[in-house]
Every structure is written in C-alpha cells, then in structure tokens.
C-alpha cells in the first residue's frame, strides 16, 4: 500500500468513527426538501395508470402493457407468507405519482435542474455535478468516476456523464426516456425477466412504475465507469415504484450501484420496485445496493414498506451476476434478488447484510435457479437483529434435472443483540440431479463476549466495540462491495445498531 492510499484510508476510518459518534441514534437522511410538487390524485385506478403513462409521454404499447398489469393486479392477493407483521395496506390511500413542479419541462442538462433538487442530492452526499466523486473522497484527475441517475419521488432528475458513456456506446438514462428513445430494446426485454404477473408487488409496479434507470451495455464493452442510481423519496404519502432494466450484451461488463433514502415521516410509505437484469453470453453484471430507507422510529412509527422484486437472468453461456446488498433501512423489507442460471457455466453470487434494529422487520434472501450445466452459485448472508426486530433469511436453491455438475454453497449466519429480537432462517433446497453438489450451512449466535471484552479492554466503549465486532461478522460481504460503497456501508452498520446496546 502506498503512503497516499494509507492517508485516504486513515482519513476515512477516522471519519467513520467520527460520524458514528456524531450521530445520536438518529437517521442521518431524515430531513425533507421543501419543494413544490405536482401530484396525481390519490388512489389507484385505470385512470391513474393512464395518467402516469400520459405524464411520461408514453407510446400506446406501453400503456397497454401497464393496463394489462393493472387488470391482473386487481385480481391478485397480497402475499402473507413472509415473517412480517404489518397492518393492512390501503392501496387507495397513496399517491402513485409525484413530480417536482420544476421538472414540468424536462431540463436539457444538469445546469438547468432546480438548484433545490441538486442541493438535496449534495446534502445526501450524491454529487450530481460531473467530475465529483462519491463519499467526498477527493482523488486526482483520471481516478474512477461514477455516473449517477438520480430519481426523486416519481421522476429521474438527471443523469451524469451521459456524453462520455455514449462514446463507449453505453446507454444510461431514465427508463421513461428509454421507452421513447429506444423502444425496440425496451419492448424486447421489459418484463422478460420479471413478467407482469410475477407477483403481487411486481404486478403493481408494472402498472404504476413512474421512472427508474435503463442501462444497455453493447457487445464486448466494458462500461468505462460505475453506474449508479440514487433513489430519494421526498413527498409524503407517496409510493415510489421505480423500474430498472439492465441489459448486458455478449461479453460486456458493468458494475451498478444503487442507494436509497427517505425523510422521516410518521406514516408508512410504500416502495415497490422491480429490477430486471438480462445477461447474455460471457457478460458480467455486478449490482450493489445500500438500502437505507427511513426505518421508522424506535417504536415502529413511520418508515418505508419495501417490497422489491429483483431478478437477473443469465441467458447465455458463462454469464455472471453478483448481487451485493446492505439492507439497513425500511420498516419492512421483502426482497429476494434472484439469479436464473440458464446458460451453461453461468454463475450467480449473492452477498447480503441485513440489519434490523428497533421495530424493523426484514424478510430477505435469494433464489438460485440452476437450469444450465456446470452452473455455480454462492450465497453468503449475514443477518443482524437488535432491539425488538425480526430478521429472516429466506432462500431457494433449485438444481433442475438438466443442471448437471452444478454447485451451490450457502452460508447464512445470524447474530442476535439483545433478548427481545428474533433471527430466522428459511431455506428451500431442491436437488433433482445427482452430479450437482449443494451445501447449506447456517448458524445463529450472539455477539461474542470475549471479543467484546477484548475491544473494551483496548479502551473502546461498548457501542464502538459492538460495531467493530459486527463489522468483522459482515466482513465477507463488505469485501464484495465496491470500495466507496464498502466504507459507506461500514459506517452505516455502526449507525444502524446505535442504541441497541445496554
């Protein structure tokens, strides 16, 4: 390691500790931006679906697609199999569309974007001004850049580095724009991984999604920078329903980051997103999420209900996908990023940290569906429960008869902090051929007293010690994240657990 590197690292570590200390058990992103909004009327009906489509200037086929989804949705029942307890959601008591007034005429470049919106993202630490870097880590010219698509309530406010990406042939834009500009690509792939009628929440999303990101990486292209979407829910009583579609053509590579925050509100807010990833022959996609929606207060008042369907389809041989998620926010998390390993030799990986504190409830995991020969998957899940929280790992590993010589390794570890919380593991293992090997291991334990004692004897206070031990417990997953994200995640782990000790 060079001296310069050292300095940066030191700085960040110090920063992490200072941040932890500065926060007194509070949610860092809980402020709201006072901005004039344009709402669709409350409630959900075919008219609202039509309105959303019209607001986005969508072609007829898109509206038909949405309406088909809506008609399915009204006949579906909300799933209740997850270990989540929450009062009935009134789907008519939500706004399905909210757009900052200043976005009525779409700005042509970031310079034209309402300064209030830019300030919001700046305050969140998300630099929309090009050439700025994530996490405030100043680095010399030519270092890694991250292109950002920022989604504010129902609309994308801007995408950075578009020109530079275009040079490489990469398309990175709001999905509303892609529907208009690249209808053939969208038509071909939208709903091909997560069909309209996939599940209750995905179907709802198909009907009312307002915006999200679209990525296309052409054949043989290594995306020149990391792509990132930052989701911010700002308006009250508004659901966010974004849809992300990523297509990695043959032999391409992209690393994609996703972050989310929301203001503190007393009422629960609904978030039902869909992420679809299509990975063709020899292509690779890394998808990293730091989910930090407002979790509600210590008594479970307020917070985001997060119902997300994420799925990657490895369509070609040697395709590769890696999901990494750090789930610290939301009052309710219902999320199972999945891998369909269709192509021979394709690979899926899932690394997850799920932290539930206070009254949070998380039911999250993955599905690895092995269809092709010699397919490989790996699951590393770390669940941490504190306060009165319930944290469930739910996963499926399925080896189909034709998926010969395939391999899965699953490790699910749970850590309990305090005697009022719960940690649960619900894996499904289905093996239908004998040349494949499946291994599943799970453990549940509490924070090791000896490790805590050691840290305390070195002068750390109890919260710092717990944060350090928990970071150690999560190390395998943190290492799978891109560097800036890993640092963010590390400090988030500490903050999320504040107030859980003693």
């Amino acid at each position: 390691m060079t001296a310069v590197d050292m300095e940066v690292r030191d700085g960040v570590d110090r920063d992490t500790i200072e941040t932890v200390q500065a926060m007194s058990g509070s949610y860092k992103y809980g402020w709201a931006t006072d901005i004039e909004m344009d709402y669709a009327p409350k409630g959900l009906s075919e008219d609202i679906v039509r309105l959303i489509s019209q607001k986005n200037n969508e072609p007829e086929w898109m509206l038909d697609w949405r309406l088909a989804a809506y008609r399915r949705w009204v006949q579906m029942e909300e799933p209740r199999w997850a270990m989540l307890h929450y009062p009935e959601i009134d789907y008519q008591d939500q706004y399905y569309y909210a757009k900052p007034k200043s976005m009525a005429v779409k700005p042509k470049s970031l310079d034209e974007v309402d300064p209030k919106l830019l300030a919001t993202y700046e305050k969140l630490g998300i630099p929309l001004k090009e050439q700025m870097l994530l996490a405030g880590v100043e680095a010399p010219e030519g270092e890694r850049k991250v292109a950002v698509d920022a989604v504010f309530d129902s609309v994308s406010v801007g995408t950075t580095f578009k020109a530079e990406l275009k040079k490489a042939g990469v398309i990175f834009c709001a999905i509303s724009e892609a529907i208009r500009e690249y209808p053939d690509l969208v038509k071909q792939y939208l709903g091909s991984v997560v069909p309209q009628s996939d599940n209750f929440f995905a179907t709802l999303n198909s009907a009312v999604f307002s915006d999200g990101s679209f990525v296309y990486i052409p054949k043989g292209t290594r995306c020149p920078m990391e792509l990132s979407t930052y989701f911010r829910i700002n308006a009250e009583n508004t659901g966010q329903f974004e849809r992300t579609l990523i297509i990695a053509d043959e032999g391409s590579y992209v690393s994609y980051l996703e972050g989310c925050t929301a203001p503190k509100r007393d009422t629960h807010q609904l978030h039902a997103a869909v992420v679809e990833i299509v990975i063709l022959k020899d292509a690779e996609v890394k998808y990293s999420t730091v989910q930090n929606w407002y979790p509600g207060d210590e008594n479970g008042k307020g917070g985001i209900y997060n119902f997300v369907t994420k799925r990657a389809d490895c369509r070609g041989a040697n395709a590769k996908v890696m999901w990494t998620q750090v789930e610290t926010g939301s009052a309710i998390t219902w999320k199972y990023p999945s891998c369909i390993l269709r192509g021979d030799n394709s690979q899926g990986e899932f690394y997850s940290i799920a932290i539930a504190n206070n009254a949070q409830q998380a039911d999250t995991g993955t599905k690895m569906v092995h269809l092709g020969k010699n397919t490989k998957s790996r699951i590393v899940s770390k669940g941490i429960s504190a306060g009165r929280a319930q944290n469930t790992y739910r996963g499926l590993v399925s080896m189909h008869p034709r998926a010969t010589n395939s391999r899965n390794y699953t490790q699910c570890d749970s850590l309990l902090i305090g005697d009022k919380c719960g940690a649960h593991t619900v894996p499904y293992i289905e093996v239908k051929n004998n040349s494949s090997r499946v291994e599943h291991e799970a453990t549940t334990s509490k924070v090791d007293e000896d490790q805590l004692f050691y840290c305390r004897s070195r002068g750390m206070d109890e919260e710092e010690a717990v944060a350090l031990v928990v970071n150690g417990f999560c190390k395998e997953v943190l290492q799978a994240l891109p560097m800036e994200f890993a640092m963010e995640a590390q400090s988030l782990v500490a903050i999320s657990l504040e107030g859980s000790v003693g």
Partner: protein, 428 residues
C-alpha cells in the same frame, strides 16, 4: 372453489366412511379432535407444509390397495432381543401372538379397554400433546387420527423395566386401513425403550404421544417395514421435562409414501431431545421427515440427524425446524439433513428452518446433497476394494451419524445389518 372449501370437502369425503362412536373420556377426546379437524380440513397440494409431499392418497376415503411383501423368511428386526412383544395385525391388537403385558415398573393397557375406566391415568392426558402440537402448524392427519382411533396402547412407566416393549405391526390384508394411537407416560426417574417394527397395513395412520416427566428417559427405535406399496403417516408428539431425555431413531426402507412428523417440546430446563432417521429408497418411493423442535426452557439440547440414500427416482424430503422461544437461553440446537443421490433420477427436497427469539443460543443447521464422493471411492478402489463393496462402505459411513443416535449397541448393530442387507439387495 376456494382452497378452504376444497379442504373441507376432502374431510367430509374422508369422514363419510364411518365414524366409530365411543363413550367416556375417549369419546370426549374424539369429539374434541373432530371439532379441531373441522376447523382445518384435510391438507391440499398447495399447503406450504405439504409443498413437497402430495397428500392425495392419505386424503382418499379408502386406503389404496398395497400388495403384501414377501420377506422370504428373513428374520424381522429385533428378533434376537429379549423384549415384551405386543402384536397388531392390520391395526388390530392380536392377543394370541402377543406376550402377557406384565412387567415390573410398567403398566400397559389397550386403549379400548382403558376407555371404559373413567379414572384411568390417561383420561385427562390422551390427545393433549397432539392438541398442543397443532400450533403453530396444523397437522390435520394427527387430529383425524385422534378423532377416529380406537386401538393403541397406553403405557405408564414408573420404574426401569427389565426389557424393552416391542410393538409389532403385521400387514395381512391388501386393503387394510389402520389407525393406531398410543400414549406413553414416563414418570420421574423412570426409563423405557420402545421398539416398533413392521408395515402395519396398506395405509397406516399412527400417533404416538410421549410425556417424559422430569429426569425420565425414553428411547425409541422403529423400522417401518419394507412393503413397497404401503403408505404411512405417523406423528410423534413429545413433551420433555426438566433434565429428561428423549431419543428416537427411525429406519425407513422403501414404501410408496411415508410421512413421519415429529413434534418435540423441550419444556423443562436441561432437557435433551435427539431425533434421527436413516432412509433408503430404490424406485418409486417417497420419504418425508417433518420435524418441529421447540425449545421452551433454558439450557436444553436438541439434535436432528437425517440421512437419506436415494436411487431410481426415489424422493427424499426433509422439513426440519428449531424454534427457540424467548427466554430459552443457553439453547444448543443442531440439525443436519443430508442426501446421497446414487443416480440421476432421484430427488432431495429440504427446508431446514431456524426460528430464534433468544440471543444467548448456539444453533446451527447444515444440509447437503450430492453423489458418492469420487475421491473416496477412488481411494478405496486403489486399496483393492471392489466397486460395489466400496460403494456400500461409503453409503454405510454416510448413514453412520444417524445410527450413532441409537444408544443400545445391540440394536444399533441390528439396524446396521439391515441397512447392509438392503444395500446388497439393491446393488443393481
């Protein structure tokens, strides 16, 4: 038709075949069970708890016929042991073939005759453990059993009987539909070994309720008979008191359909429960082990060890759960489920669950599935061991951890010999 309606209809059809009316405490237990059952109906294919096993043939009003199995003079399990034998033929007690049920430290009575005695010790107990076992997961076939059973034994153990009690289930009629319900009560400090063997009937429904009082000890070893076409649904409901021990081992070989449910509650501190199963299947056979262990007290230990060897399309299912209640600190829970798939056609379906509400616990589970390890096979062959023998050796080694749960070495040896013979017969 809604799912709930389908379940109620299935139940109505099942009950149409006749409901034996009983008086006294047994009649009251039956009526209560029937009321429970009406609240749940019979399971459907879409029930989460029946995700991997189709209950259709268990729901059917009449037992599907099952050809008798010719064991070709082979000695039945436990033949060499000194034991008190109680024989049931197609689910009916056969006094002529049974031993006189008299043994020091133990009371044995037939369910039907005990029911006539209003002050019998089982009067307030019979069916209570089954009732407790209905939450949080419904077990309709257990309630159906309690609602209909008139045959079974009630065993109360007050000392340490000199030999095991052996329940032998003979299958003589191709269309027999047997319902057996036993209750075993181990008093404080008492100890019993209970053996069960045989296919029992074309279709068997069996409930075994076991109450182990503080410091009592209960050992259970059963083999379920090799009749290829038999179907069986069995339940063990056990409540284990402070410092008590419960150990159960089941060997399942073939059988068209076997669903073994075990519901164990560690109710007193320092209780120990071990439950294990070895199953071997060659052909159109379906074995399902569904286990639910509840830790309700401090410092208890539980182990679930399940091993399945499958070939020619045999399907092995394991649904296991460890539930640690709030306050059950210092729990040590362990669960392992493994399958060895000997060819391309077999399947292993598992759902090993943990649900934990206490922080100072040590719980782990593991589940693996795969073929015989080529490296190990190569090693044995390089040492001059013929292929078939090498495979058998490795399969036995794979099953060893489950058999190790049997404390009595003579019984363990008997089980081992049976597995070895099975492997020998099913080499091709």
């Amino acid at each position: 038709m809604t799912m709930q309606q389908a379940k109620a209809d299935a139940l109505a059809a099942r009950l149409a075949t006749g409901q034996p009316g009983q008086g006294g405490w047994l009649g009251a237990a039956q009526a209560a069970a029937l009321a429970r059952l009406r609240g749940m109906g019979l399971p459907g294919k879409r029930d989460e708890y029946w995700r991997y096993t189709d209950p259709t043939s268990l729901n059917a009003p009449d037992a599907p016929s099952a050809a008798l199995f010719d064991s070709r003079g082979e000695a039945p399990p436990f033949s060499g042991l000194d034991r008190l034998r109680l024989v049931f033929v197609d689910g009916i007690f056969d006094q002529a073939q049974s031993d006189d049920p008299v043994l020091e430290g133990i009371e044995i009575e037939r369910l039907g005759s005990a029911a006539l005695n209003p002050s019998h010790w089982a009067a307030g107990l019979y069916g209570t453990l089954e009732t407790r076992g209905q939450t949080p997961v419904e077990r309709p076939f257990a309630a159906l059993n309690t609602a209909q059973a008139t045959e079974g034994v009630l065993i109360r153990v007050t000392g340490r009987p000199s030999k095991p009690v052996s329940l032998i289930y003979l299958h003589k009629s191709e269309r027999s539909d047997a319902i057996l319900h036993h209750f075993v009560k181990i008093e404080s400090g008492a100890e019993l070994t209970l053996l069960e063997n045989g296919p029992a009937a074309a279709r068997l429904s069996k409930v075994l309720e076991v109450e182990v009082a503080d410091t009592g000890r209960f050992h259970h070893i059963r083999t379920q008979g090799r009749d290829h076409e038999r179907r069986a649904v069995s339940h063990i409901f056990a409540r284990i008191g402070a410092g008590a021990l419960f150990k159960s081992f089941t060997l399942t070989a073939n059988g068209r359909l076997t669903r073994n449910e075990a519901v164990l509650e560690l109710a007193g501190a320092d209780a120990v429960a071990h439950i294990a199963g070895a199953s071997v299947g060659d052909g159109d056979f379906h074995h399902d082990d569904t286990v639910f262990v509840t830790h309700a007290a401090e410092r208890c230990e539980s182990r679930q060890v399940y091993k399945k060897v499958l070939k020619n399309g045999a399907v092995g299912v394991f649904q296991g759960k460890i539930l640690v209640k709030q306050g059950a600190q210092k729990t040590d829970g362990y669960q392992i489920s493994q399958s060895l798939l000997l060819d391309e056609d077999s399947q292993f379906l598992a759902k090993p669950e943990l649900e934990i509400y206490a922080d100072d616990v040590k719980c782990s589970h593991g589940s693996t599935s795969g073929a015989i390890d080529d490296t190990a096979l190569y090693y044995l062959r390089s040492r001059g061991v013929p292929l078939k023998q090498a495979q058998s050796l490795l399969v036995l080694a794979f099953l060893a951890e489950a058999i190790a749960e049997i404390e009595d070495e003579a019984i363990a040896e008997d089980i081992r010999a049976r597995l070895e013979a099975w492997l020998h017969r099913h080499e091709h």
